[in-house]
């Protein structure tokens, strides 16, 4: 039974829990057992909260026995990326800097999950402060791809993607600043959703780049993604960038099909940079959409080539600012043996942050410094406007943009870790979406010759989440991938 439980989707497990065919404690136990069995190899978790998970599960079972009306997510075991604050449970951001940081508050999304009696299994490994796309920058340990343990799971939400793919969590919450949900989802062969900027409150998510960050679900299939996003989406008065919008149900219109859908294929996503097998897989998906009754047309997003540099300027600038607070004064790591405050700052930040984090802080401080601001930061903001205009133009005539998530499938551990630029190039297809604040859903669309998963993304205009789910579901159903 235990093996079956961890293979179930959220939707299936939810049904079994509702009929009391499976108890929440059984479900939690199955997942905790799986974590014990596999996580030594995979490294998806930084902290496992087994005791708490079993307590939460027992509470769910009790409520259900008492006849309480429960959310479809009640009793579902989930993992949470370790940059999302959890009250009383350490939240490290995979950094030495926050090794012992225990937040006295919950993130908005955690409150939402707790209200729905989701069972939290633990805190998931990630690239340090979400900087990286291989999960190798974690201070604690790298994460390995469950599909091939010699390969990376992608990042920065690599722990979440690996956990869901390996049956170590029914779903996970990740964060996506430049592709950090979608790329690991693609590398691990699961579904990852980056919602419209402002759709999910950032309150309590440790910021990487505030104008780009969004929290979203990593799930086994499209329905699960819709179920989880419905639970965490919505206005939060404690996040000034939160959207006050009346969201429709995502699950209700899933089965409306792809007929009449106008799909755009941006030619810039099918250039020399992308692996041939990936281009073929996404084009094959486009053909399938045509067979399902959609129209597909090639379009151009001419400013895409500026997106990556603009992204690294904006995100590093915001990151250097957001991470300034980690100074060893109030919480977290503090270097020993310092004689004065300046020494504390220097030593704490030198020893507390890893290489990639320091690289981005320096890059960010540079582009914000007097004399360089206009040439870099201001220019990047101008590029941001151009990119938004590119997308707007396409969305005047199309409902969805279909594109690859990443130019390659999962690489070997260590393959790119010595070459930051190479690593940054891996985000080339995902960052434009964050720059424009758009929703994008990453779903599997086949495997390459080595059997590694290939992901494609369905990109919509702001608030197009219901449509993206509908389109993705149609594809998933036609591929026979909806069942676990």
């Amino acid at each position: 039974m235990s093996e079956q439980i961890v293979k179930m989707t959220v939707g299936e497990l939810s049904d079994r829990l509702a009929t009391r065919d499976v108890s929440a404690v059984e479900a939690a136990t199955a997942y905790l057992d799986k974590i014990s069995e596999l996580d030594g190899d995979i490294g998806a978790y930084i902290t496992v909260t087994a005791e708490r998970a079993l307590e939460q599960a027992a509470k769910v079972d009790k409520l259900r026995t008492e006849g309480e009306k429960l959310s479809p997510l009640a009793g579902i075991p989930a993992g949470i990326k370790d940059n999302i604050c959890t009250k009383g449970i350490r939240t490290t951001c995979a950094s030495r800097m926050l090794e012992n940081f225990i937040p006295p508050y919950n993130a908005f999304v955690i409150e939402r999950l707790e209200e729905r009696n989701v069972v939290m299994l633990g805190k998931l490994n990630m690239d340090e402060f979400a900087m990286g796309s291989t999960n190798e920058t974690s201070y604690y340990k790298p994460v390995r791809n469950p599909r091939d343990l010699t390969r990376v799971p992608g990042g920065s939400s690599g722990g979440g993607a690996a956990a869901v793919a390996a049956g170590e969590a029914a779903f996970a919450l990740g964060s996506d600043t430049g592709g950090s949900i979608r790329q690991p989802a693609a590398f691990c062969g699961i579904v990852g959703m980056k919602p419209t900027y402002g759709a999910v409150s950032r309150n309590g998510a440790v910021a990487l780049a505030s104008s780009l960050d969004q929290i979203g679900p990593l799930t086994k299939n499209v329905l699960d993604s819709a179920l989880v996003l419905e639970a965490i989406i919505g206005y939060d008065e404690n996040d000034a960038t939160s959207l006050d919008y009346d969201w429709p149900s995502f699950t209700q219109r899933l089965e409306q099909g792809a007929k009449g859908l106008r799909i755009a294929l941006p030619k810039e996503y099918f250039g020399e940079g992308a692996a041939a097998e990936i281009k073929e897989a996404v084009k094959a998906a486009a053909s399938k959409y045509e067979r399902l009754g959609a129209t597909v047309e090639e379009v151009s997003l001419p400013n895409m080539r500026y997106a990556l540099p603009a992204y690294y300027v904006i995100s590093s600038a915001e990151a250097s600012s957001n991470l300034a607070r980690f100074d060893g004064v109030k919480y977290g790591f503090r270097a020993e043996g310092c004689n004065d405050i300046d020494e504390i700052y220097k030593a704490t930040r030198s020893e507390g942050f890893g290489r990639e984090v320091k690289r981005r802080i320096m890059l960010g401080s540079f582009v914000l410094s007097a004399g360089y601001y206009d040439a870099y930061y201001k220019k990047a903001l101008q590029v941001r406007t151009l990119i938004c205009e590119d997308f707007n133009r396409v969305f005047e005539r199309f409902d969805v943009i279909l594109a690859p998530v990443a130019p390659t499938t999962a690489y070997k551990l260590g393959e790119n870790s010595g070459n930051p630029l190479e690593m940054y190039m891996g985000n080339i297809y995902t960052v434009p979406i964050n720059i424009a604040g758009l929703p994008s859903l990453s779903i599997p669309c086949g495997t390459d010759s080595q059997g590694l998963p290939i992901g494609m993304q369905l990109i919509g205009k702001p608030f197009a989440e219901p449509l993206l789910y509908q389109a993705a579901y149609a594809f998933e159903q036609s591929s026979g991938k909806g069942d676990a």
Binding site: N83, P104, Y105, A205, A240, A324, R325, Y345, S365, Y373
Partner: protein, 479 residues
């Protein structure tokens, strides 16, 4: 000081002031912590104002409303949209290592205030007013080291930057008094200097009179009384002149004013100044100020000091200077109006407030412990000639300590003025025979000797004599 008055006369100072005013909103600028002053250290903080990971600021709209009011009351243009920026620097009292402030698009710009000094009226330009959060406070505890109190962190501030239109310490003081008056009139701050809710930075440079360019500037940080602003400016002016005269090179630097020595000391020079890496705060959307909102706030602004001042000049015939002095503290002006309404001598009430009351009031205080009706009664008796000016002053002093009906006090203690010519002539004759030397001096042309004789007659009346009469009688007798 090394330089003479004549040398100082060749130079003029160019001064601009930056004032930080703490707004009296109920909660802090980006969280819901209370803003009361004087709480136990670190009891008015939350994860947001402590800048803890993952927390987000949400702007308290009342801060914008108060700042717009301050802008309107100082004749500023109000921006239609304005942004908040992060100003980065590392210091233990700044939990996020950046202060949320404003940069190139301040909320208010291009305003002015009219000031009045004894030399006359002058207009001082206001460059900008922007909103920002306050930092915490470092407390040095003997034997324990430096402690951090973050109660003040995240308190709402406006920074008001003047144009460098100020050319004397007196003008600086008049500007600060006027600014404080306006802010207090509109009720957006208590402006308590001793509690740090009104703090001043001075930017000063010195040049030869007639020159157009500016000298090397020094900035004196965080001065917490008007008196110290005056002292710091005067000290710094002389220091600059001395350096220029001696051919020394001044450097652009930040200095602090030491209260005990009355001197300024260098804190840091501009060469190693921090680059604040200003950047727009992505957590905070653009602030919009609609016409409707601006008009609503404008309608809430009460009569300002200048309007009252104008009225006092017209209604009571006060001089511009007296009217300005009376109106720079709202409570004092209110008190004046209450008392003035109950006597036929409002000018006397004004003079009594500006001389006798001003002497008795501690700095920054406005609470006059005398019933305005009693105060008016003193003015009435004085104006009617029933008491003389000395008695008038003594009565104010007496009622300050123990407020009572001054009429009965005058009656009980027999303080009425003696104007009877026969009585005064008798006293005058006694004095003339007793004070032969002064009489001789007076006759030899020494005017001061006459005052001595008047004083002696007054003494014989126990201070109750009518001074005008005494002078007439003495002058007559000594012809």
């Amino acid at each position: 000081m090394m330089v003479s008055q004549a040398v100082l006369q060749k130079y003029e100072m160019v001064v601009g002031l930056e004032v930080h005013v703490e707004l009296k909103t109920k909660t802090k600028i980006f969280c819901r912590c209370p803003t009361e002053f004087g709480a136990e250290p670190n009891t008015q903080c939350c994860p947001i104002c402590l800048g803890m990971p993952g927390t987000l600021p949400v702007l308290n709209r009342q801060v914008v409303n108060f700042a717009v009011k301050a802008g309107l009351a100082t004749n500023c243009e109000i921006a239609l949209t304005t942004k908040q920026y992060r100003k980065h620097y590392f210091y233990p009292d700044l939990p996020k290592a950046y202060q949320i402030s404003q940069y190139d698009l301040p909320l208010c710009e291009h305003g002015y205030l009219d000031i009045e000094t004894e030399k006359g009226a002058k207009r001082i330009g206001i460059t900008r007013i922007h909103i920002e959060e306050d930092a915490g406070k470092l407390v040095h505890v003997e034997g324990k080291g430096t402690m951090i109190d973050l109660n003040r962190g995240g308190m709402p501030l406006i920074e008001i930057v003047s144009e460098p239109d100020i050319h004397s310490a007196e003008e600086a003081k008049a500007y600060l008094q006027k600014l404080r008056a306006v802010i207090m009139y509109i009720g957006v701050s208590d402006c308590k200097m001793n509690q740090g809710s009104f703090r001043c930075d001075v930017n000063i440079s010195v040049r030869q009179k007639g020159e157009k360019g500016l000298g090397v500037r020094s900035e004196i940080k965080n001065i917490n009384s008007f008196q110290f602003v005056v002292k710091a400016i005067e000290y710094e002016f002389v220091r600059h002149v001395e350096a220029i005269e001696a051919g020394e090179k001044l450097i652009q630097e930040t200095r602090r004013f030491d209260q005990s020595s009355g001197k300024t000391f260098s804190m840091r020079s501009k060469e190693n100044a921090t680059d604040y890496c200003y950047s727009p705060d992505p957590d905070l959307p653009v602030i919009e100020i609609s016409d409707e909102m601006r008009n609503t706030l404008k309608a809430e602004i009460p009569a300002l000091p200048d309007q009252r001042k104008q009225r006092y000049m017209e209604e009571y015939g006060l001089t511009a200077y007296a009217a300005e002095q009376l109106t720079i503290q709202r409570e004092i002006a209110d008190y004046f109006e209450k008392a003035a309404a109950q006597t036929s001598y409002p000018t006397l009430v004004a003079n009594m407030i500006l001389s006798d009351v001003a002497r008795l009031l501690p700095p920054d205080e406005t609470d006059i412990p005398i019933d305005p009706a009693h105060f008016a009664a003193i003015a009435q008796m004085s104006g009617d000639g029933r008491i003389n000016s000395g008695t008038c002053r003594k009565l104010v002093q007496a009622l300050w300590e123990n407020d009572t009906d001054p009429e009965s006090l005058v009656r009980e203690k027999g303080l009425e003025q003696i104007s009877d010519t026969d009585v005064l002539t008798a006293f005058a004759n006694e004095v003339i025979s007793e004070q032969q030397k002064s009489v001789a001096d007076y006759r030899a042309g020494k005017a001061a000797a006459f005052q001595v004789l008047v004083g002696q007659v007054m003494k014989k009346t126990s201070g109750r004599g009518n001074p005008v009469k005494i002078k007439e009688i003495l002058a007559d007798l000594l012809k």
